[in-house]
């Protein structure tokens, strides 16, 4: 543990991270799995790692999940 957790979190990289292109390519699949209560993180750890680290992709994930849940009422 160090005294600068926010900086440490920001700089820490995850080798499983698939990058934006792959995460966005599979975003609809990942979101449907999350919306259905499935363990998306276990099934797609590389996408989960990316969505945690990438602000824009994380925001798109949250937006798509909200749209799906909203449509489900």
């Amino acid at each position: 543990m160090n005294g600068w957790p926010a900086l440490d979190r920001f700089l820490r990289t995850d080798p499983r991270d698939v990058g934006c292109a792959q995460a966005m390519e599979m975003l609809h699949v990942y979101v449907d799995l999350v919306a259905a209560g499935g363990d998306a993180e276990e099934r797609y750890p590389g996408i989960a790692a990316h969505l945690r680290a990438c602000g824009p992709c994380g925001e798109d994930f949250a937006a798509l999940l909200a749209a799906v849940r909203d449509a489900e009422g």
Binding site: G19, C20, V31, C54
Partner: protein
């Protein structure tokens, strides 16, 4: 980062009934126009909600924001109809379709960023980093050293391009999508550059005792 082909596993061969119905009515026939109208309405609602949520941060509001939402919905609908044959049933059709409009809103807001009057060009505002990373004023004597070490690492460890991207995104708060547009690049390429920069900077700070020297590599 891991190879591309390790992400996608099996693809369901059959569509769920609702998705199959969407594909059927959007393909050809008398119901197509009504289906397009319905889908456009759904896309527009999502675009408007997302634009209104993200707009204030990008200093865009009012009719301009509404126009952006309409454009995003229209462009998404065009992309969806053009790529209908590529829908493979890996998700529900609507989830696949909504992704297009979400990405359109992101891209259009990124383009809008450069029309803001306060866009930092050239200047480097390192004084905003303590706030960004939650450094407490009471510990300034400690984080002053850390910040100086970070700046040194940015100057000595990164390539010129990595430094430019790091400063724009982290120091000057330029959105990643906006930076990608500026460089004629992609979100993925800029992220990859930041990924490599983050790894190098963390290693440099750990080597100098500012961060834990572990290499678990997982957040």
């Amino acid at each position: 980062m891991i190879p591309v082909n390790s992400v996608v596993d099996e693809i369901p061969a059959r569509l769920d009934p609702e998705s199959a119905e969407w594909i059927r009515v959007l393909a050809v026939g008398p119901q197509r126009e009504a289906a397009l109208d319905r889908l456009h309405g759904m896309l527009l609602r999502i675009a408007q909600r997302e634009a209104r949520r993200r707009g204030p941060r990008m200093l865009i509001a009012g009719p301009e924001l509404e126009d952006l939402a309409y454009q995003a919905a229209a462009d998404a609908l065009m992309a969806i109809t053009g790529k209908l044959g590529q829908f493979r049933g890996e998700s529900r059709f609507t989830t696949w379709a909504y992704r297009f409009v979400i990405l359109e809103v992101s891209a259009k807001l990124g383009r809008h960023f450069w029309r803001r009057p306060d866009v930092p060009l050239g200047a480097e505002d390192w004084d905003r980093l303590p706030g960004r990373f939650g450094f407490e004023p009471a510990r300034e004597s400690e984080w002053r050293d850390l910040l100086a070490a970070l700046r040194r690492a940015v100057d000595t460890e990164l390539t010129a391009r990595q430094r430019e991207v790091f400063v724009a995104i982290v120091v000057n708060d330029v959105p990643l999508d906006a930076l990608a547009l500026r460089h004629g690049s992609s979100r993925n390429a800029v992220y990859k550059m930041m990924f490599d920069a983050r790894r190098k900077l963390r290693a440099a700070l750990a080597a100098n005792g500012y961060l834990d020297d572990d290499d678990s590599g997982r957040s």
